[in-house]
Assembly symmetry: C2
Homo-oligomer: 440 residues x 2
């Protein structure tokens, strides 16, 4: 097997990082799509931009192999906002290389994964060892809820047909073991707004005027406790239970509680979980996270203002079996029953979760590829993150597995996100193995 060209791979990653592509604001989205397409072509992969009106373009790539089935790579070229900017030690769109890492927003999520896969296909193809047909579907709205992906799957599903999907990323744990993931959580992203007086008032009016921030605090405190445990009735009614093989995988999964706490910067887990309970909870707990809350004055010093409005952003992870529309209806009913029906709510995004069985042959092939490149692997039944995996797996009728080179410490969605260059190399090798061996 021919080798991976690390310098080329890192250079391509730097090019992608230096092109901001923030889907929340739209900054640089079109430019980045064209750059990804250009890099695919440079590496011998046929590329075109797919479009659906009102949505960011999807970069499609295709290269035929020697008839060993079709593998589809799902990735995304968009990134999270870089804020808070003052907490970055490296420029967020700089692509600085330091101590074997490449720093920047999107370094690992998901631009580092994109270039590793492209490099693997290029290397195999140049050596004439590409067995499988390869398809790339690289979208531009993943960090903003993949809102267009359903429409893209409807319009372009035929050209995306495949036998197995490798999802956008996969973690590598603190002992350099790739974590092969069999599913992801779903998500509801909700914005709530409580309205008070017609304009910001002097707070001397407080004996007479309801402060919308109090109303919002009151509403939030009915949704979950201090530990984030959801108090909405029937929330878990349709949650899919673990199978025996799921539970076996959970039990076998290594988990270093001390290392995790250190990485997260916390002294204790919120419910004092031990290792097994922590692993189970990551897979089975549906969370209600306050991703943002804001009202009134947040500058220096004092300002005695009674604000006109108060807002919060909630992200609620769902476990497989929960259907976003049903949960949304429960959410709104709960607010109304508790006297908060007049708080404005908007479902910005809803996505079901899904799990592939550990017993599927495609899962076996990916595990073998991981062993070949990394010398070992770990199996995870559900990643705690969310992506449009349910849509792909359902529409394309293909199993989906998460496998990649994202260091678990890599600060996804946070300042000083980075990619480890050694993991990018190993991931490229893992993908080369997968594409050059028959699977399932």
């Amino acid at each position: 097997m021919t080798g991976v060209d690390t310098a080329r791979m890192v250079s391509n990653l730097q090019r992608l990082i230096r092109q901001p592509s923030v889907s929340a604001t739209g900054e640089g989205i079109g430019e980045c799509a064209r750059l990804v397409s250009e890099i695919l072509e440079e590496n011998g992969i046929h590329s075109r931009l797919l479009t659906v009106p009102g949505h960011a373009p999807v970069v499609y790539g295709h290269l035929s192999g020697r008839g060993g089935g079709t593998i589809l790579f799902y990735n995304h070229y968009d990134v999270q906002p870089a804020e808070p900017l003052d907490l970055w030690e490296h420029p967020p769109f700089g692509g600085v290389v330091e101590d074997g890492r490449v720093y920047g927003r999107g370094a690992t999520d998901d631009k580092g994964e994109i270039v590793s896969r492209i490099e693997a296909v290029r290397a195999l193809s140049e050596a004439g060892e590409l067995l499988c047909d390869v398809k790339f579907v690289i979208e531009g709205e993943e960090e903003n809820g993949s809102r267009g992906i359903h429409a893209y799957l409807e319009r372009y599903g035929d050209i995306m047909s495949c036998d197995g999907i490798v999802w956008e990323f996969g973690y590598v744990d603190e002992r350099a073991r790739p974590i092969i993931g069999l599913g992801m959580k779903g998500l509801m992203f909700i914005e709530m707004t409580a309205r008070g007086p017609g304009r910001d008032l002097h707070s001397g009016a407080a004996p007479l005027v309801q402060n919308p921030a109090w109303k919002l605090v009151g509403a939030l405190s009915t949704l979950a406790g201090d530990d984030g445990r959801i108090m909405i009735p029937e929330w878990y009614a349709e949650a899919q239970p673990f199978s025996e093989t799921d539970m076996e995988a959970i039990q076998r999964m290594p988990y270093d509680v001390g290392a995790v706490k250190e990485d997260l910067g916390i002294e204790r887990f919120v419910r004092e979980q031990d290792a097994l309970q922590a692993k189970e909870d990551l897979a089975k707990v549906a969370t209600c996270n306050i991703a943002g809350i804001w009202s009134g004055y947040s500058g220096d010093g004092t300002k005695t203002v009674l604000p006109a409005r108060a807002s919060a952003k909630l992200d609620m992870r769902l476990v497989p079996g929960m259907e976003p529309r049903m949960q949304w209806s429960r959410f709104r009913d709960h607010l109304s029953r508790n006297g908060y029906g007049d708080i404005e709510t908007e479902l910005l995004h809803g996505e079901p979760g899904i799990r592939t069985s550990p017993d599927h042959p495609f899962v076996r092939a990916v595990r073998d590829a991981a062993d070949a490149a990394y010398g070992t692997h770990v199996l995870s039944v559900t990643y705690p993150e969310t992506g449009p995996i349910w849509h792909f797996s359902t529409k394309l009728k293909a199993p989906c597995v998460l496998a990649g080179g994202t260091d678990v410490h890599a600060r996804l969605h946070a300042p000083d996100e980075y990619a480890r260059i050694d993991y990018m190399e190993k991931t490229a090798k893992m993908i080369m193995w997968l594409l050059s061996h028959p699977s399932g």
Copy 2:
């Protein structure tokens, strides 16, 4: 009696508005102090800057009359921050004159009141009709808690001795009646910060990591209900009850519930108060107002982040009798008892409230002056706002009354604050009457 020069008064106000002086940030404070001093001198009033290290200068003014006692005017040249800037229709530091109003941050609070008083003294003095000695004490930290005023009173109390204090402002109601105020509420301004993980995390970690925003919401929901009613035990233990003459004044005070609601931009009062209850509550209710709350991501779109910290600013108005240090101790004990002892709290400002008796002769003189200029007046036992009135009244052993020309609709602390030019004229005439007649 000679007349008021309206053009000069408005021009002086525009000069002051165009010099920003935001005590929360320090912007323009020194420059504005010098400008106020310059305007005093231009109008024949001896002026000097008083200083206490670490605090904004106080502008002191003095002019001798013909031996009719000494009246001290307390005012402030600093203003609230202008944010949110995008909601202003007139530039906040522009001093635009339109339809008989002067627009800008500080137009009425408190720069409009300053120039009305200066104009009154100039006019009387030029006509040789200034009976009382006049002193001006114009500070620069009122909107940020008047933190230095205690030290200024200690250092310069002797030169501030007086027989009566006219406080920085007074409202004029929607029927053009000046509201003569006999007291103000106290204030505790508190900042709370809950800390979570060492850095912002991907919200996939939510099953294991406490979100500090949930902790803050939990703590806040123990402090007050949705209607802002304080739930801290013993909060009202030392509140000073109304006297019979206080209650009579409250009952006699006109109050147009419909007009107030329209002005505030609300459909209903928070506790459905009728007119009498609304008037009583404005005087007797100690409030807990969320002046600001912020955590995580508040930009457009979605960001699935578990924030590292969450903060809130509370302003809690106190009624006369409540002592800020005692209430602060109750506040902290309450948080600890409810399991929130690890939330960081800081008392940014504490100020007692005070009420002067409606029976005091100085009150009578101010009421007569108001009748002479406005043709009528209204008596209010307690303004719902806060200033360092307790410190002045206690240190200088003099009664204090609020009287001025601030339209109740004038949007204090909010976008498009304005001063009515006709009320500035009437206020100047009221002050001329007060300074040219013997009082008490």
